[in-house]
């Protein structure tokens, strides 16, 4: 690994639209090195799209997205874990090995890496088992092992615990913390406020495609800047009301589905 960091990641007025519908709107922000950011917001806020834009799976419709080391190599140094990760129809061991082989890691170098990450994620005893036979929680751990093997500088996680029960969630959170302690920048979406409090250094609050707030975690929970964020942290449901004075009427047309 080259020593130079690919961070910070800067977004300048980034928008994304499908069929003329703007789903991410004029987001400008910056991700500095060395912290963990949790992106929160109600369903449909555009959290997953936002993550995919940062990861590079989607291209912004307008605006700029800049990594510091913009030499085209950034894709090699950042990775993503999906809400329902795809397990390749092969063994647990080979699933991790596949990710490494795509990155061009030689066969001899792969073995110690795979053994290490499977051990760190508690999957060593399953190494010969087809990955699709694992439980959802185990599959999510394997997805984490798979990206951990790549030692990314930045790791995006899209609601990695959304469909898991509390024990499995706990294991996954422990692994995320471990990956972070190993020096990886975590950027993760969640709708679980408890999880946000456990993991976040920094919170980003998205609503209807707009970035409403990016602050340190304590500050977000102590005194959120926007009314919507305050309502969200109190656990209120953010229904869309046409007459709700919090929303300027102009937006409703753009995002009406």
């Amino acid at each position: 690994m080259v020593d130079s960091s690919i961070l910070p990641l800067e977004l300048d007025n980034v928008s994304y639209e499908i069929d003329g519908k703007r789903l991410v709107k004029n987001v400008s922000c910056c991700f500095e090195a060395g912290r963990s950011t949790l992106v929160i917001g109600p369903n449909g806020a555009g959290k997953s799209l936002f993550l995919r834009l940062c990861h590079g799976l989607l291209q912004p419709s307008s605006g700029l997205l800049r990594w510091r080391g913009s030499d085209g190599q950034t894709g090699q140094r950042q990775a993503m874990v999906f809400q329902r990760p795809v397990m390749l129809r092969r063994s647990v061991w080979a699933n991790v090995g596949y990710a490494l082989s795509v990155k061009g890691v030689s066969r001899a170098e792969r073995e110690p890496i795979i053994n290490r990450v499977l051990q760190c994620t508690g999957l060593s005893r399953f190494e010969d088992i087809p990955a699709t036979r694992l439980s959802f929680g185990e599959q999510q751990r394997l997805a984490l092992a798979r990206v951990w093997a790549l030692s990314p500088q930045v790791l995006f996680l899209d609601e990695p615990t959304a469909s898991l029960d509390p024990p499995a969630t706990h294991q996954v959170e422990q692994i995320i913390t471990a990956i972070q302690s190993a020096g990886t920048r975590i950027i993760m979406t969640s709708h679980d406020l408890g999880q946000v409090q456990r993991l976040a250094d920094e919170v980003m609050f998205l609503h209807r495609g707009r970035l409403l707030e990016q602050t340190a975690a304590e500050q977000f929970f102590d005194c959120p800047q926007s009314d919507l964020a305050r309502a969200f942290t109190r656990g209120e449901l953010l229904w869309w009301h046409r007459k709700n004075p919090l929303h300027p009427p102009g937006i409703s047309k753009e995002i009406s589905r």
Binding site: S48, R52, H55, L57, G75, Q76, A79, M80, F82, Q83, R84, P85, V86, M87, L88, R89, R90, S91, W93, A94, N95, G97, Y98, A99, V102, K103, E127, D128, P130, T132, R133, F136, Q139, R146
Partner: protein, 253 residues
Amino acid sequence: MNDFSDAFIAAFSLLIQLDADLVEIVALSLTVSLTAVLSAAVIGMPLGAALAIGSFPGRRMLIIAINSLMGLPPVVVGLVVYLMLSRSGPLGVLGLLFTPTAMVIAQLILVMPIIAALTRQVVEVLWAEYEEQLRSLGATRWRALPTLLMDGRSQLLTALLAGFGRAIAEVGAVMIVGGNIDHATRVMTTSIALEVSKGDLALALGLGIMLVLIAVAVNGLSWLIGSPGQDRLLRSKRGGGYGRQQYPAARTR
């Protein structure tokens, strides 16, 4: 219907005697058809996968063409291959007419569209599920191609069997390009046609029963290879092949 009871007796006695001529015919049938199917797979599977995930001009036309070619009449294929391989044809110098190689070529042409079309379908579905994950891992389309073929292997086996079924049961094309020459190009189907033309319907039907038994054996064998019970043979740390699985429902976006 005495013919039917006679046919079963004939088939049974063929099996019991297992005479050298019959063994030779069965062996040639299997060699020719398996070679044709596997070479068709080597061409058709990457082609089908490329049609599924690629985006290039003429892709749609190619898909329509391949789908249509699935219904190609064997006799037409036989005739075209005959004209190509005839000494007076463009490939005549190779001297391949009336050889097993000519039969392999004809069957390959018949089988390849089936394998390519079915592969395209399998890979297209798989690609919809895999695309984001593979791109996220940094795989290009060309790197994804063998991955998709590997992960679709249990369904692709069905495509191979469909191709094998067409190849082994085919008579029109191999009759024309092989010539049904005793001890050289005589296979199960052309023997059956010959026995029918000799009026020996019981023997023909008996050979037909043998053909069905062979098809059952090949299908059963492939099922064994693809079934979970045999996974351990293929499964290893590094390789990790295994067959029939229940996959979790496609991930919601």
